[in-house]
């Protein structure tokens, strides 16, 4: 990260600009919600895409992640892997078939049940 006084001074305008962009994206998010899109999936997708864009702006500019040392990137890559695992946990809940009835393939359910 370049943090000598001259380069910091040159970045001041960028900080205000990113702040403004974040506020504009917030307005867009609320506006999309007010429009009441016909598809819920579309509304969710748009809201999350905007949130991801806002999050990446905060991380890259305010937290200076666009220009950091490799140790920090290394720690964050491990975090991302862990985060992805956490986000896939809900999928495992749908794979759990313990206690559910699943008849053998090709056998009518009435036969499988012993009737």
């Amino acid at each position: 990260m370049h943090s000598d006084p001259a380069s910091v001074k040159a970045s001041l305008g960028k900080y205000w600009m990113i702040g403004g962009a974040l506020l504009v994206f917030t307005v867009i998010t609320v506006a999309v919600n007010l429009v009441h899109l016909s598809s819920v999936a579309l509304a969710i997708t748009i809201a999350l895409i905007i949130a991801c864009m806002k999050g990446s702006m905060v991380a890259s500019v305010f937290m200076h992640l666009s220009n950091e040392k490799k140790w920090i990137y290394g720690a964050l890559i491990l975090t991302v892997i862990g985060f992805i695992v956490l986000m896939t946990v809900p999928l495992f809940t749908t794979m759990d078939t313990i206690g559910t009835h699943s008849p053998a393939i090709g056998i009518p359910e009435s036969h499988a049940a012993g009737h």
């Binding site: 943090s3 000598d4 006084p5 910091v8 001074k9 970045s11 001041l12 900080y15 205000w16 990113i18 702040g19 974040l22 506020l23 917030t26 998010t29 609320v30 919600n33 509304a43 969710i44 809201a47 999350l48 905007i50 949130a51 806002k54 999050g55 905060v58 991380a59 305010f62 937290m63 040392k69 490799k70 140790w71 920090i72 720690a75 964050l76 491990l78 975090t79 862990g82 985060f83 956490l86 986000m87 946990v89 809900p90 809940t93």
Partner: protein, 196 residues
């Protein structure tokens, strides 16, 4: 005997980082996992629910709080930038502004919570409100924690600027990294809880 803690200002030769910088990033990594686990819980509850309430929360209050936190992120980065430019007066002004904005956020949250509890809608009322209070309560505690740290640097902690300006600037940078993370979490909480 000199008992100074090493690498508070100068960078370590192996990592190229001051110890505090790596420390705060590792802390933030653990915070990602904490909030990640709760977001994952939210997905499980939401996908497993027969119906999910819409319009239970005040979108305008949520949007105003989003604007407040984004503005506080800008004032926080300006507080750090002004220290880098050796302008302690402006730094202090921006840090106080960040502290006040954080306070306004919590006051808004208090009104939201009071409205729910006034109607008997606590975390016990529904699955949605249970995860809502868990996520926003934990986030609110993080805001409170940030305010305590900021209050320290506005008050007694500011003395370090005269003694060791570089170390003080680093401490404000770490506070800023934490504060931006708290803002980042809210950026996702707002659409997930208030809009979807």
């Amino acid at each position: 005997m000199d008992m100074n803690i090493p690498y508070t200002v100068e960078e370590r030769p192996d990592s190229g980082l001051a110890n505090g910088k790596l420390g705060i990033w590792l802390f933030l990594a653990s915070e990602v996992m904490l909030f990640g686990a709760l977001f994952s819980t939210y997905i499980i509850l939401r996908t497993g629910a027969v119906e999910w309430p819409h319009g239970e929360l005040n979108v305008w209050l949520g949007a105003i709080n989003t604007v407040i936190l984004i503005t506080s992120s800008v004032t926080m980065v300006m507080a750090w930038a002004n220290l880098k430019m050796h302008d302690f007066g402006k730094h202090r002004m921006y840090l106080i502004a960040t502290f006040v904005l954080a306070g306004v956020f919590l006051v808004n949250k208090y009104f939201e919570y009071a409205d729910h509890f006034g109607k008997g809608e606590g975390p016990w009322h529904s699955t949605f409100l249970a995860i809502y209070f868990t996520l926003t309560g934990l986030h609110g505690l993080h805001i409170l924690g940030g305010m305590v740290v900021m209050a320290y640097f506005i008050g007694p902690g500011a003395k370090l600027w005269k003694k060791n300006p570089d170390q003080f600037t680093n401490r404000i940078e770490y506070t800023g990294l934490y504060w931006h993370f708290v803002d980042l979490v809210w950026i996702f909480l707002f659409p997930v809880l208030y809009l979807l």
